[in-house]
Symmetry: D2
Subunit: 311 residues, 4 copies
């Protein structure tokens, strides 16, 4: 079910999150700690913004594992960015390993990643595709549930996609999950789906941690924030206490560094929203209504309290 990271802050070298930390994303490609299966070796992708050149991000993806890809290693030592996504994939059974199926997916200024699975996706695929306007229908180049979810998100976000607030993006994320859950429920799918999505336009970043069954723990998701994030030559990485001027936020499936105090767990059903000025909010979104409407039952008060307590 993959692992991913999002970086937003002062310009840093990609290797600072991809390879240098003790639990770097490349390490998570073969030794993830918070999945039953530690392996995420079915290709990878990175996407970064170079705003002085263009608003469209650059994507580099490959079907070989992240841990032995020399192009990735060299790029991560030579590319700096203020905003980048990276993803190591564990393909769902039956899903082809191909560059078209590597995350992050890109459309215009947007990047999109998914850690999770839309269960029995084939049962909603036709309906999902039917809902899409041509420009999004034909954007889809691979076969993953994740890329299809991206198209739903873009559709729900609306046409004026170039001046979005992070709140609008976060709401579209919630609507996307609501829509997918509605279709899945109507198709009679009872297995649990996992929806950890992350999306950015290069300025705003939103990420959600959601599982369709409130009784089940969603896939892990953390964030960390502070001053500039730096790695020493010895590979010790941390956020400096250097004030607001260099504010930074990292969102990751797993904690990249050892110090547990540096990382906060995103609570289940919550959306983390980072504005272009790096202001971050974690909110319990209106998912409960989704659950109650679709499954005919609302989470109990104790469940809600428990969820809130996670933060």
């Amino acid at each position: 079910m993959c692992r991913f990271i999002c970086y937003r802050g002062p310009e840093i070298l990609l290797s600072n999150v991809l390879s240098k930390p003790t639990n770097s994303l490349i390490r998570q490609s073969f030794k993830a700690k918070e999945r039953t299966e530690p392996l995420n070796g079915d290709g990878f992708g990175i996407g970064w913004y170079a705003p002085k050149i263009t608003s469209t991000p650059c994507v580099f993806a490959s079907i070989t594992p992240a841990w032995n890809n020399q192009n990735l290693r060299r790029l991560s030592e030579h590319v700096r960015s203020t905003c980048f996504f990276a993803h190591v994939r564990a393909a769902s059974p039956g899903m082809r390993v191909s560059e078209a199926n590597c995350h992050p997916f890109q459309y215009g200024p947007y990047l999109w990643m998914h850690n999770g699975i839309i269960r029995d996706f084939s049962r909603i695929k036709r309906r999902l595709r039917a809902s899409l306007p041509d420009r999004l229908y034909h954007m889809i180049d691979g076969t993953t549930d994740s890329e299809h979810a991206f198209a739903v998100f873009l559709n729900l976000l609306g046409d004026d996609d170039h001046v979005c607030s992070v709140r609008k993006i976060g709401q579209a994320l919630v609507k996307t999950i609501t829509q997918l859950e509605e279709w899945t429920a109507q198709a009679g799918v009872s297995d649990v789906s996992y929806y950890n999505f992350a999306v950015t336009d290069g300025q705003n970043v939103a990420a959600v941690r959601y599982v369709s069954d409130p009784a089940i723990e969603p896939q892990s998701l953390y964030y960390s924030t502070g001053g500039k994030y730096e790695c020493s030559r010895e590979g010790v990485c941390s956020f400096c206490k250097c004030g607001e001027a260099e504010k930074t936020i990292v969102i990751a499936s797993e904690r990249l560094t050892e110090n547990p105090g540096d990382w906060f767990r995103v609570a289940p059903n919550h959306v983390l929203m980072v504005e272009s000025d790096l202001t971050a909010n974690v909110e319990l979104m209106d998912f409960e209504r989704i659950g109650s409407r679709i499954n005919g039952k609302a989470p109990s008060a104790s469940t809600r309290a428990q969820l809130a307590g996670h933060l």
Copy 2:
């Protein structure tokens, strides 16, 4: 627009058509003679039958060019078959190069290849997919017009797909083109489409040479038949005059060998049908009706005569 070959006859080594002839398929991957653009370097695929093991063919495909692929070279020197397809691809503009987009496509006992293009395919893609039953809808793993046409073919061939005569297969080929042309015309596409398809179930082989505008020459297509097809150590390949017992037929986008007398051009709008006993027929199928119905004009008598004269 690709090049392909089909072999049906006594068991031979794949290299006898893939690499040994002077104009072998691997040579056609970089020096095709009968295309304006000689290059077919966007991946390749081979599919062969091992009927003692299973009725489902084995497919080997790769996104690297055929001319420098060492796995292909070695396989073609070690695999023998009585029926095999091979294809070198020239991707249509905008079409991704991926293994999922390499021909031949396989479904159950069938292999399918295409040399050509369905013009403005995106304008009929939704309608085409909507026509498919679930099993064929979800079979599609790539993004090519060619694989989608295969799904249409399988749908028109019907469910009892395990006991097909070559005539039934040929008719389904014609119906497939009729259907694609009808959709394309209704979508207002006026550019010319090219439909050289080949299909086999391991016993029967059918191939068609068709272009949507009768005034235009379709993509080249040849066949050759005789006794056992053999290559000397020096790479001189020919059909021996050894009688019916070892009857062989090769269908190819281009003549593989120098002797022009060995090869017959498939006439435009004709379907070549090879039965399981290697009996072969080339027939002018009922495409004219398609043309007249859809484009509102029938080919003139002289066009018809001209077409017939090609054979």
Copy 3:
């Protein structure tokens, strides 16, 4: 440090060892049981003999992991052989992942695989290469210690390499390790090297289990023998009790099936030799002399007894 298997017996489908057993080689590519690190995801290779076609084996190799390679999956369901090798690689640190570095390596009728590492190989590389005649010097196409060891083996085997008894092959294996150990010792390398090699000419198979320090357990190596090896539709694989006519031997880094009684551990420093009539012997070869000569100390009697007890 890789995992491998060798099969020799009646013609079977490759999938019977590659994918069907509970601990198949493909499973070992991501969940090896007897290595500290369960991952062997740095490419793979298979080599098989088709003696009716040629004495040279066919090799198929790829840099992508074995577990998600669709060409491998299809080939293993369509190719049958009486003798084949397969290998999943865990690249040594700093070693490039490339097809040229995938095992098995092939030269003439021979296939060669290695599970292990020649420690500080760069310190003996020049000397090793200087020892080779031109034909073997230029055979080397990659950068691994394993392929270089193959060249040493071929050189020690001698020129008349087409009529080798398994005993001669086994002795050349021993001489190869002796030579490598001598060079390594003279270069002052003190770290432990692991030499589990397997080699075949399509008829005879030899495999060795050796580690340079007798106090340390070598990499695991097993063999199993019996009548024809078969897998049921449910994936239960076993050797039938059907007599000598269908005698079979499988050599593997790990036991492929659950029944521990089916598998014998190859004792440290022993060579397993399978003749063309499938007669198999495991012998304690003259490695002790190597050790005593080079390291200046002979293994104690108790060590020797312990080794023998492994069998």
Copy 4:
């Protein structure tokens, strides 16, 4: 025998030379104009400097053709540099297509490319390798004559490789060819070798156009210089007449743009040297002495005049 380009000047987007010009390097990957064989489809590589990050260049290489590689397309639209090399490969017969064999080769701050062939390279390979110190011997990761020539160059350049003038680099280029020619002659190779090399440390650039037989035309090599090199949205690329402040030099196997007046042919046996301040010189180096010493004959005066006249 490949095609390459070198760019040195104000920071520009890589696509300005890789894809936008009418005869861009990507176009040369399938339609080179000045080679008998227009195809350079055996992989490619790019290397660029990001001096604010590190003095070591970033290299991205792939075994798939440049014309259909989406990672290359995206990188070239997002990476800007003041100094970069790019190369599309036509592998010499028998040479493996692998990432390790893609140009440019990198070592420390240096990038190296070759368009040509050292004839019968295997006959000098041992001697060449024997001449190398360990650090360069073990640097070699592939099997090409080109990478081995790079190691010879680095050896002749000397140890103090961080403060080189372009003159010193140019002289090392000449010495490299002299040395290779000497070895080749002594090995009794009589076929013609082609040595168009380009090398840079990110500041200085040197390129040479040489063929071992003065009676034969070397591989084509051009340079162009002027103010900033720009491409319009319509793909019209040219050097602006904007003065010394934005001085630029492009060296390429073929002219990238239509205007023949923009491009100068590098004369045979000449070395083009670009200093860090973009001052460029083309000099007839002391190759004649090489020829006379090795082949026992000096080029005639008329040959010399003819060579000079090329400039």
